[in-house]
Symmetry: C2
Subunit: 169 residues, 2 copies
Amino acid sequence: MSELAEIKDNFVTQWGALGSQWGINRTMAMIHALLLVSPNPLTTDEIMAELSVSRGNANTNLRDLASWGLIRQVIVKGERKDHYEAEKDTWKIFCIVARERKRRETEPASQVLKDCINRSKDLKTAEAKELHKQLTALNDFVMLANSIMEKVASKEQSTLLPKILKVLS
Amino acid sequence: MSELAEIKDNFVTQWGALGSQWGINRTMAMIHALLLVSPNPLTTDEIMAELSVSRGNANTNLRDLASWGLIRQVIVKGERKDHYEAEKDTWKIFCIVARERKRRETEPASQVLKDCINRSKDLKTAEAKELHKQLTALNDFVMLANSIMEKVASKEQSTLLPKILKVLS
DNA sequence: TTTAATTTTCAGAAAATACTGAAAATACGA
DNA sequence: TCGTATTTTCAGTATTTTCTGAAAATTAAA
């Protein structure tokens, strides 16, 4: 194996291990890493061979990655099999991940909070009022953080982050 | 069960279910939720009874929550058992979670990237240079996001977020 | 000390999650 | 249309994660 191939392989493997921490499964993280460092689109069979995973596993995770928008199908002339390539623009990757996290993490949390806030708003005891206050504070915060993420992730340009850093110092 | 108790119970249960999405286990999320809405500190036994979990499970997750800084032990005069209470300040909770995520998610990612960047920096082929470029772009971004989070989460005051929101509009 | 209350640990059980492999479905060229 | 290549699905299996319960360790009162 060439030095280059070894480095890539190492990257794919380690990225896969990190995936668990990120709440996405190992195979999904590895496929994403593999396509990120592949100079050309790959077929399901190539991915299966490279990562030693089954067809079912590869197929499922390719569709998931595509549904996130982190990879896309491309047509290769004269070939019948589907080929996949990764979105390589760092800023776009960030926006996709940010939106997905918002959708899967903060929005459901806010939903739960709102529901409890609503149900407690007419209760009169001191303890109920305290609960209402605590949950409202939490939810206001979650929603604020949410709207910041939404705005950041909707920008076309990545020049935004350096500006924010500047505001902070 | 009183209306208030029902609302709390609902909150604890749903928050526990959300925990999975957040990459923390159900019991840990439930204990945190329970202490968040409890007007007074609770003992391990009270938590076990309230959530129907074993002593081992309760103990392990209480220690984990304490090591994050999301809850703390408090002494109740005349009582021998440990009592626990949650940090209720929303901004502090946010800072803790942000730091923990940085530590567990972005820092290891950056480590992997740096390692591969280093190993590829002296290779001369076009493909190797492309790889080096791609990984560097990713890492620069991760580190930038990291330093923003670090700065945000190190502020004492929560008045920062509204300011950021203003900059964005 | 001794004894009893409390906390911690950890082996094994249970539950949740991920993966395989092959059958079914679909797409496409002849 | 038919036959073949390709993709998708999913029941069963393997792996990982979480939880239990009881024994071991610790703490503190008597």
